[in-house]
Amino acid sequence: MIVETGAFALILALTLSVLQAVIATAGRLRRSPVLAGAANGAAIATAGVVAVAFGALIFAFVVSDFSVANVAANSHTDKPMLYKVAAAWGSHEGSLLLWCLVMTGFGAALARAHNLPFGLKTSAVATQGLLGALFLAFTVFTSNPFTRLNPAPFQGESLNPLLQDPALAFHPPLLYCGYVGFSVCFSLAVAALIEGRANASFWPAWGRWVRPWALASWAFLTVGIMLGSFWAYYELGWGGWWFWDPVENASFMPWLAGAALLHSAVVTERRGALAGWTTFLALLAFTFSMLGAFLVRSGVLTSVHAFAVDPERGMMLLAILGGTAGLAFALFAWRAPQLKGGGMFAPVSREGALVINNLFLTAAAATVLLGTLYPLILEAASGATISVGPPYFALTFVPLMAVALLILPAGPLLAWKRGDLKGATQRLAVAAALTVVMALVAYAVFDPRKALSAAGIGLGAWLILGALAETAERVRLFRAPLAETLRRMRGLPLGAWGMTLAHAGLGVFVLGAVVETGYRIEAACPLAVGQSVQAGKWTVTLDDVRVVEGPNYLAEQGRLSVSVDGGRTREVTAERRFFPAGGQTTTEVGLDFRALDDVYVVLGERAQSPDGAHAWNVRVWWNPWARLIYLGPLIMALGGVLSLLDRRLRLAVGARKAA
């Protein structure tokens, strides 16, 4: 009964979504507040009804109702409760329902926004309704998660054990909030192009309206990608955290476009300039989101992350992507030349710096797009197969971003309209000097000596110091009495703190990524019980191996001790798990967190040691500063949240007070 309610709710949601689009369009054309209000109501109702459907699906998983095909294919009675719930979004159908839930949820939030002008809001609600209807129709007609099985099997086939992991239980919801949040930016951009207001005051206001949605989506996406990367790091057992895998790239493209959008929207908001460009990026971010959904789900790419693949549905997704993005960009091409420009600015100015930021972020996104799609295009065109992996991105993406990051700290120090490059340079002199010292120290201290890695460490330090220098400048640190500095600190808007945090977080990430990549040490060796292997300064000894029984798996569990000269010895457990339900084995990495470093231990297959005893292949990595790789994005996302909380952006709250 509950499952039928879910199926019904899903179809109802589709109907409501279509109504939302139609009524909002009619309301806009007739300028009828009544119709527009009805469309807003439909948007809110759609979100509620999709939530009911999603709840019904979770219920079916919780009670292991194997008469539902999706549950039978992805669950098992022995599975822990967290993964029964998480399995609801572990498959193609379920994750698509989650996509729809997030999309209609953001649609409802858009419908409740009080501050938008009538025309813009109604057009945006119509666009959002159309997007929702397309994805709901795709779900209902090709990927209905409520399809029944008759006869129902007694037991399910279980969720892919790689996905039975806490990080992965929370990764998709956060990632989707990011991906799909950009749909509101898309709708607002389409609406702005339709309304095409000629008056110059429209675009600054539009920049302010679109920015909170972009900020929220970008912050969600940052944490979502970070969790996915962390999952790959400790679940795949390869010692790495980013493989330039097509699915990773698919999530990275909207992130890059979203980051560009955030910055470009600031220029539009403050100066009314770059209106067309900001609109373009708003369209691009969600287009990349849809492209990612298509790439991941269609199976056109091979990836270690793709778990819900179906070529036929891929064609439908391609049609949705082509239709919506095609129409939106056609609209853009038609309307963009008519957009009124904003204020003028000199090349050396805050606007100029943000333009350069956009230039490099866009080129970086294009690089990721090329690297991801090129093997497909080349194979289709000439039949030649190539692989594009980390070495390609190291030669293209990394230098592009390095130049962008080098320029970054100067941006916030330049004034709007016409900046003072000499002044900015002087204010960054201390940070620059410290950066050079740090890079030299890094070159001398880290073993082996690597000039490029030391330069990378300098770059990370430069970002952090540059962000701090900018804040110090704003609060007149050491140049005014302490009381004055404190007063200024209190007076700084949250948005300024948010920017400082986000930029410093980027620096923290760069430090972690550079040090981990440049100085990681790996060792692999068959070990019998009692033997040990050396990775850099760490000695890892295999103490004991035993068979343990988990809720739905059996595992060989190795207990290993990690010791270091002059430090405490610590125990880690590494497992090889066997899941009888699906016949798969997975590795559980043993992680010893040592300050900023990870000692990463993988227990492999049984092997013969050279003297003929029972042994296990043990691989050990020393990943220096690996913690920063995950800390950095968290700080960046926190910066985004702070900016979001800034009074100037809390539009709905202000409106409510006024009402």
Partner: protein, 163 residues
């Protein structure tokens, strides 16, 4: 009973499902082994999904690692080893695609995009100089009105018929 069955299944799964590949034998010379490890990162396991042979547990990846080590031990250069692998498995086997006519767009595309977007943004900012008219006092007042924090309200011309 169930437990015994599970253990039996696990024994099959953990040990006998596939014959474990022979453990890697690192080269005795540390410098040669380091060269081998660097090569492993750039060579794709031909049966896996986007995995380097450095990471892949597949049997063929172990064979390929052995092959690379043998060739290094035999004194061949990295370039010769890569060429040999490409002859055997095609360009697919290298994570760094070759630079030839078919991949020019791939290799030089990013920098072309940088130039193209730069030109587009330059055009955007140039064009504006001729078109921008300063805001009228009335428009300035409306802008301040819209942007003023805490005073946001419905668009005053929402019901205007010529909107």
């Amino acid at each position: 009973m169930r437990r015994a069955l599970l253990i039996a299944l696990a024994a099959v799964g953990l040990m006998a499902a596939e014959p474990p590949p022979a453990p890697d034998r690192p080269l005795p010379d540390a410098a040669q082994e380091a060269r081998a490890q660097r090569l492993f990162d750039d060579i794709r396991c031909v049966v896996c999904q986007h995995e380097a042979i450095a990471d892949s547990p597949a049997g063929i990846a172990a064979d390929m690692r052995g092959l690379v080590r043998d060739q290094i031990a035999a004194g061949r250069t990295d370039k010769a080893i890569r060429e040999d692998l490409v002859r055997r498995y095609g360009d697919f086997v290298l994570f760094k695609p070759p630079v030839r006519i078919g991949t020019w767009l791939l290799w030089f595309g990013p920098f072309a995009v940088l130039l193209a977007v730069g030109a587009a943004l330059l055009a955007f900012t140039r064009r504006k100089k001729t078109e921008t008219a300063p805001l009228s006092p009335e428009e300035e007042a409306r802008l301040a009105d819209i942007l003023a924090a805490g005073q946001l309200r419905r668009d005053p011309d929402a019901k205007r018929s010529d909107d």
